[in-house]
């Protein structure tokens, strides 16, 4: 069985619960803290005058060279356990320091609007069929 595709989500979307438990995601942020004993890292991103953090469980990607303050890209599954906040069980953790965050956001939005546009036209095409 192939693993599920990890769709890009912004850190603020993950915390707000927009992503379901068990779903595969790709997200990014600046490494603000790393606790190797607990295999826990925190990525942070700035959006709409707020700081949004995402907790990453790094067991599967250790050891890695943690550079505090650097941008990281994480790919993994959402874990929504009751006693802890939403966190991502990382399968891939790459340092992407130097990335143009604004451009990355723009690219993600561009891709999303393309898919939305496509779904709209497909629904539009399907409608006449459904109506009859």
């Amino acid at each position: 069985m192939l693993p599920a595709a990890a769709v890009f989500h912004f850190p603020w979307e993950i915390n707000s619960g927009a992503v379901k438990d068990g779903e595969s995601v790709r997200t990014f942020g600046r490494l603000v803290c790393y606790q190797p004993e607990e295999s826990r890292a925190t990525l942070s991103a700035h959006h709409a005058a707020n700081e949004h953090t995402v907790v990453i469980h790094t067991l599967f990607v250790e050891p890695f060279n943690p550079i505090l303050g650097a941008q990281y890209l994480v790919l993994g599954e959402i874990e929504n356990a009751e006693e802890v906040d939403v966190r991502v069980q990382a399968r891939v953790l790459n340092c992407i320091d130097g990335v143009n965050v604004a451009l990355l956001q723009k690219a993600i939005n561009e891709q999303r609007s393309f898919f939305r546009e496509r779904e709209c036209t497909q629904d539009g095409v399907a409608q006449p069929g459904d109506a009859t």
Partner: protein, 362 residues
């Protein structure tokens, strides 16, 4: 989800697939679309995306699973889907031991040592094709369905060095544009309609005459010499049904032939393929590139004038050559005819073009 799937009845005929430019290209589709493409009922192994026949794709994704043996499979995830990529290892990388032995015998060649450089190259190639989970992979290959699972048989694959995600971002921006401009546009693969029969007859006629000139190396002719060549075109027109025997502006076959001939001659003159050296009652045409006198005249003009100081550096401008040839050879040489002559002379290396419209002789 499957709204763009194409039904078996709607598939264009396989003969026409080559007309779709996307068919010959490695299509940059999203993995989601590659997985959902319908397979052709005519030829297994060819798939359809929005009425485009696809058999080769190009993807950029992250390696999320790897299995290495003699081949090297990995699953690539591009954010829209995950697909199995079968990447065959090149034989060259299996010869590692052999080249290591050569290491010590090489000092004689100075700074550039071919054997060492080749080894470094092979090493670099090997590194680029050894991928680990989390690395960015680019694969180009053929789409195959094996054990009901779609996969890509990679013909070219390599690790992409993308430390600041520049490549991935560029890909994310470009692919929607490709979809909008190419993949989502439906292409009408119809066999060429006969179209306006008079237009296609005219172009067929022109081609017949041009071929005739080339094959028989015609230098000079009169219209009635080539008239016969066009007869089959005119006389093979479908006969009108008996009821329509009173065409209002109808032309007899002979008149049609004359008209066609006149039009073809006019067109060939405009293109410069033929010209009339002397305009007289006798309608004689010369075939430009076969006219030895004309070629010689042009060559003489260029070789003499290139020696003059005025033209020595840059060569002679085409308009200068044209006026000289008109004075020397014939007033009726058109620019188009001269251009054909210049091209022919350049092909046989008699003259050289120094710029778009300057020529000289060495």
């Amino acid at each position: 989800m499957q709204a763009s799937a194409i039904g078996p009845a709607e598939e264009p005929s396989s003969i026409l697939w080559g007309l779709d430019p996307i068919f010959s290209a490695f299509a940059r589709l999203y993995v989601r679309d590659i997985l959902q493409m319908t397979e052709s009922t005519q030829v297994p192994g060819i798939y359809f995306y929005n009425s485009h026949p696809i058999n080769k794709v190009d993807i950029l994704g992250t390696v999320v699973y790897k299995r290495e043996r003699d081949d090297f499979f990995c699953y690539g995830d591009d954010g829209t889907g995950v697909i199995n990529c079968l990447c065959w290892k090149s034989d060259a990388f299996k010869e590692e031991d052999h080249s290591v032995r050569e290491k010590h015998s090489v000092e004689a060649y100075g700074n550039f040592n071919l054997v060492t450089e080749l080894r470094k190259l092979r090493q670099a190639q090997k590194e680029r094709s050894c991928l680990d989970i989390g690395e960015v992979l680019r694969v180009r290959g053929w789409v195959k369905t094996s054990r009901q699972q779609r996969e890509i048989m990679g013909s070219t694959y390599y690790k992409v060095n993308d430390p600041v995600m520049a490549v991935q971002i560029a890909w994310m921006m470009e692919v929607p544009r490709l979809y909008r401009e190419c993949y989502n546009k439906t292409i009408q693969l119809n066999p060429t309609a006969t179209g306006d029969s008079s237009v296609s007859m005219f172009s067929k006629a022109t081609n017949i005459i041009k071929d005739f000139f080339k094959q028989k190396m015609v230098t000079r002719f009169r219209p009635y010499d080539i008239q016969d060549l066009l007869q089959p075109l005119v006389f093979s027109q479908p006969q009108k049904a008996p009821e329509d025997q009173q065409p209002v502006a109808g032309l007899s076959a002979c008149q049609q032939l004359h008209q066609l001939l006149k039009k073809v001659l006019e067109d060939l003159q405009n293109e410069g393929v033929i010209y009339r050296r002397v305009k007289s009652q006798d309608e004689v045409y010369d075939v430009t590139v076969q006219d030895k006198d004309l070629l010689l005249a042009v060559k003489d003009v260029i070789s003499q004038d290139s020696k003059r100081e005025k033209h020595a550096e840059k060569g002679c401008h085409i308009l200068h050559i044209l006026s000289a040839v008109r004075q020397r050879h014939s007033l009726n040489v058109s620019r188009a005819a001269l251009e054909l002559v210049l091209k022919s002379l350049e092909c046989s290396s008699d003259i050289v073009s120094t710029s778009d419209s300057h020529y000289t002789v060495f």
